[in-house]
């Protein structure tokens, strides 16, 4: 999995390229912990090139949402493919995240 990061003012975009499996999740967690801090007002997670999310990946995404809530910012998960969306729905994540 590769992560591309783009920052524009208070907005941060991360693009995930590849599988968000148990081995990839710590890498995303590290990026999120490093990047989501004071001064970030909006976070976009672009998942158009991510075709697989394990529960470890879901936990990292939940962690990002909690961080953005604590920062009083917003978070949007974008371009989720159907098979991955089903994983979000099955686990109730579809109700706690904002999709676009």
């Amino acid at each position: 999995m590769e992560i591309r990061k783009m920052q524009e003012g208070k907005g941060l975009i991360m693009e995930i390229d590849g599988r968000l499996d148990t081995n990839a999740a710590p890498k995303l967690l590290e990026e999120i912990n490093e990047s989501l801090k004071e001064g970030v007002g909006s976070f976009v997670l672009d998942m158009k090139n991510c075709d697989y999310v394990a529960s470890s990946g879901l936990r990292v995404i939940l962690n990002a949402q909690k961080k953005m809530n604590a920062l009083h910012g917003t978070m949007v998960v974008k371009n989720v493919i159907n098979d991955v969306m089903e994983v979000f729905e099955m686990t109730g994540f579809a109700d706690i995240l904002t999709f676009e």
């Binding site: 394990a54 686990t91 706690i96």
Partner: protein, 144 residues
């Protein structure tokens, strides 16, 4: 009806994860199993294997064996998978399901993987016999 049976034994560590998931995907790719279902089954095996790799042997070294069996025609099929380890007795299916209706801030982080396995497979069972943990799962498909 075509049948296949395959077996893989790996070290029960996260470094074996790609091999385990690859084994499941390769095995299903020669059947009529739809892509989406292949992904679901691979995901479930990942969740169960990660559990074994993380907890079964504590600080000892150990192995995990995955036996996979498929039966299929052009339109229908079924896959049976059995994960076996010789670690301490542990039934992951007894874990309480997470409350998936809570808000992001209230959500706990554990239990999601097993919950996904229970929700997406047709059948999941656990046995402890001959000092081995045996998890069996089963999923069938039908292409309309």
């Amino acid at each position: 009806m075509e049948k296949q049976e395959r077996k893989l034994t790996v070290d029960a560590t996260l470094t074996s994860l790609d091999e385990v998931v690859g084994f499941v995907e390769d095995s299903l790719s020669t059947t009529s199993c739809p892509m989406k279902l292949t992904m679901q089954v691979a995901l479930c095996i990942e969740e169960l294997f990660v559990n074994v790799a993380s907890y079964a042997y504590e600080n000892r070294q150990g192995v995990c064996t995955i036996r996979l069996e498929t039966q299929h025609t052009d339109t229908d099929g079924i896959v049976f998978i059995e994960l076996t380890d010789s670690g301490k007795p542990f039934n992951p299916l007894e874990k309480e399901d997470p409350d998936i209706t809570l808000s992001a801030d209230e959500r706990e982080i554990g239990g999601l993987g097993i919950y996904m396995v229970k929700k997406s497979m047709d059948q999941v069972t656990y046995d402890y016999c001959n000092q081995k943990n045996v998890l069996r799962l089963e999923k069938s498909w039908h292409i309309a």
